[in-house]
């Protein structure tokens, strides 16, 4: 096992990783920006080093500072969490050069999955269903012919894009021409690579993702799917596991496809295969997230697997501690991301001091957070206050438990998304479970 793990992250995920290390018995090193001096991850870690000023670019994205902190502290592994350095193949490469284990997949796997066109090609070769699409577009004529074949709408995507950026939908030939040009320009500007490709665009599919975990010996196990269809501007708002739209048969097919996908990428570590699911229960590979996901906790709750513990375990060279047949999914879990945002003002970030804080508790309730009464939320990073997760034997009980927990949660001093979720969780369409990625376009508050 590792002698010491440096956590190159902040907030709740840094706390999550420190918890796992403490439970295994590994000393931890926190790194932090000046704005985060009073954050919980700093006090919970065995050691902590300030690595830079408030701005992420000079602290949590500052590769020399992070590596220097690892060397200074004698850390033999770095856990990148999610966001920040977690999908940076170059960072993984540098860790390797310094004999520091990057807790995540190899730089090669990351690159393979990071390049969308290549990822699609790889998936196709391993029988993982993908939406009909093209390779990198050479000219407009190719694009028009492909669009005719797939049928409009189609979506133009930058090969280097991600997280909803560098994508445009076209409903006819005119839009196609226009948007290909725009997309190229943006891709060049944001990602330094103008290559784009075309895909059949599914209108309001469900966003379904499968949690996988793979060791270096080629063993891959999936922990079932999560439904993340409810999004606002490509930001997930609420996640649940399992998906109300996935039956046992589809679940098995999804899981098997996800395992094939991970094997195709020669993947090691934890990861998520994102699929789009249409009304007829056809699913299509969308992309792979080569890191721990924000919403991993709900998969933990239905599978009883500690994903972060297992992630560290396999990064240290051990083989998976379970086989696919050991995984018995039970019950239903829902997650709400409680943010310091004003839902009445277009989810405007609302940093500030939390002056009153009472977390919900009791059976089936999990809170992952880095805040406390008196904590100042800095304005420099994301506005996540906590992840509130509720488990129960079935969806309706989990939903009611979530409602109870949301009502019990007290956060004063800053605006939060609590009232938004208290409303959402009681929304008829949400209650029915019959929703898709178009949910938020038609969502109206009850009250």
């Amino acid at each position: 096992m590792f002698k010491k793990v440096l956590i190159a992250n902040r907030g709740e995920v840094a706390v999550r990783i420190i918890r796992a290390c403490r439970e295994i018995g590994i000393p931890t090193v926190a790194v932090y920006s000046q704005a985060d001096a009073n954050s919980l991850h700093v006090s919970l870690a065995t050691e902590a080093y300030c690595i830079g000023p408030n701005e992420s670019s000079k602290s949590y994205l500052n590769i020399p500072a992070i590596i220097s902190a690892a060397l200074v502290s004698g850390s033999d592994a770095i856990h990148p969490g999610y966001g920040f350095m977690s999908e940076r193949a170059d960072f993984a490469e540098i860790c390797k050069e310094h004999n520091i284990k990057f807790i995540g997949p190899s730089p090669e796997s990351m690159q393979l999955m990071g390049d969308k066109a290549t990822a699609r090609k790889t998936m196709m070769s391993k029988d993982v269903p993908i939406t009909p699409g093209t390779g990198i577009l050479k000219n407009f004529e190719d694009a028009r012919e492909a669009a005719k074949k797939f049928g409009y709408p189609v979506i133009i995507k930058a090969t280097a894009g991600g997280g909803g950026k560098g994508m445009r939908v076209a409903n006819n030939d005119n839009e196609l021409e226009q948007n290909i040009n725009l997309c190229r320009q943006e891709a060049e500007k944001f990602f330094g690579n103008p290559d784009v490709y075309l895909e059949k665009y599914l209108v309001n599919p469900r966003h379904i993702e499968v949690q996988i975990i793979a060791d270096k010996y080629g063993n891959v196990v999936h922990l079932g799917e999560r439904d993340c269809s409810i999004q606002r501007r490509h930001q997930k708002l609420i996640e649940e596991a399992p998906s109300p739209a996935v039956d046992d048969k589809t679940r098995q097919k999804l899981g098997e496809a996800a395992v094939r996908a991970a094997k195709a990428a020669n993947y090691e570590g934890v990861g998520t295969i994102e699929f789009l699911l249409d009304k007829d229960k056809n699913f299509y590979f969308m992309e792979m997230n080569t890191r721990l996901q924000v919403e991993h906790g709900i998969s933990e709750m239905i599978s009883n697997v500690d994903i972060v513990r297992e992630q560290i375990n396999i990064a240290a060279g051990n083989s998976l501690s379970f086989k696919q047949e050991d995984i018995k999914l039970f019950g239903h879990a829902i997650e709400c991301r409680i943010n310091a945002e004003d839902p009445d003002r277009n989810f405007l970030p609302a940093p500030g001091e939390i002056n009153g804080y009472i977390t919900p508790g009791g059976f089936g309730v999990r809170v992952d957070s880095h805040v406390y009464s008196g904590y100042k939320i800095p304005p420099y990073y994301d506005s996540l206050i906590s992840k509130l997760m509720c488990w129960a034997p079935n969806r309706e009980e989990a939903r009611r438990r979530m409602y109870r927990a949301l009502k019990e949660y007290v956060i004063t001093g800053v605006k939060t998304t609590l009232p938004f979720y208290q409303d959402l969780i009681e929304n008829d369409v949400f209650v029915s479970g019959n929703f898709d990625t178009g949910f938020m376009n038609t969502y109206k508050k009850n009250k």
């Binding site: 080093y49 602290s59 020399p64 500072a65 590596i67 220097s68 200074v72």
Partner: protein, 149 residues
């Protein structure tokens, strides 16, 4: 509020003595005056709410302000290991009591096997070195204090 006159303060202290009062706070929108007489000598604090006032009549406060101004902390702008000398057997770049000039090298901070030359921002005398040789130094941490000329 008009300038606080010393005779006003003296008057208040007299009143306090006569009445065996130990503490007085006088406050308006701009300033507050706090007098405590429970020690051997009365303690007088005047603070202006916007800014610290400059008042020749209160020499003790003046002095402290001046002292603070002169001692400059040299702060690390990187995380690494602190070294006071170019090699284990060499003499330290600077020691307490040494005079340094702005731009003069005062230590090394090693980051990822890179030896970063750290120089003094100001000229003056080394008053205190805050880090042990070979120990980690964080971003924003004070390496040493220099009393400015």
């Amino acid at each position: 509020m008009k300038e606080i006159e010393t005779n006003f303060i003296e008057k208040v202290i007299d009143i306090m003595k006569d009445n065996e009062l130990t503490e007085v706070t006088l406050e308006d929108d701009e300033r507050s005056l706090y007098i405590r007489t429970s020690g051997f000598t009365p303690v007088v604090e005047i603070s202006e709410k916007e800014d610290v006032i400059q008042n020749e009549l209160l020499p003790e406060i003046e002095k402290t302000e001046e002292e603070k101004k002169k001692v400059i902390p040299i702060v690390s702008n990187m995380i690494g290991l602190y070294f006071s000398k170019p090699s284990p057997i060499a003499q330290p770049f600077v020691q307490v009591g040494d005079r340094v000039k702005a731009g003069q090298q005062i230590c090394i901070i090693e980051t990822i096997k890179l030896m970063n030359k750290i120089t003094a921002d100001v000229s003056g005398t080394v008053k205190e070195i805050c880090i042990e040789d070979g120990k980690p130094v964080e971003y924003g941490q004070t390496i040493m204090y220099i009393e400015q000329d």
